[in-house]
C-alpha cells in the first residue's frame, strides 16, 4: 500500500489512492465467499477499514448508514457504494459481482442437488433443522438491532402495528409501507427548523 503520505495532507478524504478494479473485485469476492452466518458487517469492517484501509471508521459508518436506510441487502449495498467511491460505476459493478459470485454459484449448485432430491426425507429434515436454527438466529439479530426501538412507547407501538399488519392480518407490504411509513415519519417530523442534537429528540414524539 502506498498511502504513507495520506496522513499529512489535510485534504478531505477525496478519492483516496487509486485502487484497481481487479483488487475491488477480489476483495469483495473474498468477503462474499467467507461471510457465513450473516454477520457481513463485521467482515466488511475488518477488510475495508482494518486490512485495506480504503475507508476510515467514519466513512465506513456513513456508507453503512446509507446502506441500512435504503432498500436492499447491506452486503450488496455496501459493495456497490464502496466500489463506487473507489472507482465509480466500474468499481461498483466489480464490488457487486465479487460479493455475490461465490454465494450465487454455491446456491445454484445446492439448488440443482435439491431439485432432484426435494422429497428426500433426510434432506428435508436437515433443511428443517437449519430453518429452526435460523429462527433463533433471526430473533437474536432482530432484538440486538432493535432493542433501542423497544424502549420508547411510540416505537413499541410502531413495531407492534407493523408486525400485526404483516404477520397476523396479512396486509400487503406495499400498503403497510405506504401507510405506517408516512405516519411514523410524521410522528418524528422536525419540530423546529434548528435540529437539536441534545438527545431529547426522541421525546419530541410524545
Amino acid at each position: 500500500m502506498s498511502d504513507a503520505a495520506s496522513e499529512s495532507t489535510g485534504a478531505p478524504a477525496a478519492p483516496m489512492k487509486e485502487v484497481s478494479i481487479w483488487e475491488i473485485f477480489l476483495t469483495f469476492l473474498i468477503i462474499g465467499g467467507t461471510s457465513f452466518g450473516g454477520g457481513v458487517v463485521a467482515y466488511l469492517r475488518n477488510s475495508l477499514v482494518s486490512t485495506k484501509e480504503w475507508l476510515n471508521e467514519d466513512e465506513f459508518l456513513t456508507v453503512l448508514e446509507i446502506s441500512q436506510t435504503l432498500p436492499g441487502l447491506n452486503a450488496t449495498n455496501m459493495a456497490v457504494l464502496v466500489g463506487d467511491r473507489l472507482r465509480g460505476i466500474p468499481g461498483a459493478i466489480a464490488g457487486f459481482v465479487g460479493m455475490t459470485l461465490p454465494g450465487s454459484i454455491m446456491v445454484f449448485v445446492l439448488g440443482l442437488v435439491y431439485a432432484s432430491n426435494s422429497h428426500n426425507p433426510t434432506i428435508n429434515a436437515v433443511l428443517k433443522g437449519i430453518g429452526a436454527a435460523s429462527v433463533g438466529l433471526l430473533l437474536a439479530v432482530t432484538l440486538k438491532i432493535g432493542h433501542k426501538q423497544l424502549e420508547h412507547y411510540v416505537d413499541i407501538i410502531l413495531v407492534s402495528v407493523t408486525l400485526i399488519l404483516v404477520s397476523f392480518m396479512h396486509v400487503s407490504l406495499v400498503i403497510v409501507l405506504l401507510t405506517v411509513g408516512p405516519i411514523a415519519v410524521f410522528l418524528y417530523r422536525p419540530r423546529n427548523l434548528s435540529r437539536d442534537k441534545s438527545g431529547t429528540d426522541k421525546k419530541a414524539a410524545d
Binding site: G37, S104, V126, L127, G129, A132, S134, G146
Partner: protein
C-alpha cells in the same frame, strides 16, 4: 417466457421494498410465491430458505433457487437480477446525492420513523420462517436454544449453530425416527 416475466415482476417488486434487508420481505415473498403464484409449497419455501443459509454471502441468494424451480437456469438468472439490481441502483443514486439528503431536516425523522418499522418487519420475517420450520416441540426447543446462545452467550459464529441445526435434523431423522422433528 411468461414465467420469466412473472419472476422479474415479483422479485423486482420485493427488491425495492426490502427496507432493512431481505428478512423484511420474507412474509411478502411467501405470499407471492406460495399463495399467489403457486410456485412453491410451504415446505419447499423453508427448504430453499435454508439452502440460502448454508451458502456464504447474502442469504437472500435463495431467490436463485426459487427462480430455478420455476423456470430453470433462465429463471434463476432472472430472479437474481430482479432481486439484486433494482435496490443497488437506488443505493448508488441516493448515495451520490447523500450529502444533500443528509442536510435536509427530514433526514433524521425518516431514519427515526423507519427504524421501528424495520424491526417490526424483521420480526414478521422471523415468524414467516418459524411457521414453516417450527412444527413441533423439538424444533421449538432447538430454536430457543439457538436464540439464547446467540443473544446471551459470548460471541459465537452463527454459522456453527446453522450447521448444528442441519446435523440435528440428520440425527433425528436417522436415529430417532420415533420423535417428531
Amino acid at each position: 417466457m411468461l414465467s420469466i416475466l412473472k419472476i422479474l415482476g415479483v422479485f423486482s417488486l420485493l427488491s425495492i421494498m426490502a427496507i432493512g434487508g431481505g428478512t423484511s420481505v420474507l412474509p411478502e415473498m411467501k405470499t407471492l410465491t406460495i399463495d399467489q403464484q403457486h410456485w412453491l409449497t410451504e415446505a419447499q419455501f423453508r427448504d430453499i430458505y435454508s439452502i440460502g443459509q448454508i451458502a456464504p454471502g447474502p442469504n437472500m441468494l435463495m431467490v436463485i433457487v426459487i427462480g430455478y424451480h420455476v423456470a430453470g437456469a433462465g429463471g434463476a438468472l432472472a430472479a437474481f437480477l430482479a432481486f439484486f439490481i433494482p435496490c443497488c441502483i437506488i443505493a448508488l443514486i441516493v448515495s451520490r446525492l447523500w450529502l444533500r439528503f443528509e442536510k435536509s431536516a427530514w433526514c433524521l425523522p425518516v431514519q427515526q420513523g423507519m427504524a421501528p418499522i424495520v424491526v417490526g418487519l424483521m420480526l414478521a420475517g422471523m415468524i414467516a420462517i418459524a411457521r414453516t420450520a417450527i412444527t413441533n416441540q423439538t424444533t421449538l426447543a432447538f430454536a430457543a436454544v439457538v436464540f439464547i446462545v446467540l443473544y446471551f452467550g459470548k460471541k459465537i459464529n452463527p454459522a456453527l449453530l446453522i450447521l448444528a441445526g442441519g446435523l440435528l435434523g440428520f440425527i433425528f431423522v436417522t436415529y430417532l425416527p420415533q420423535i417428531p422433528f
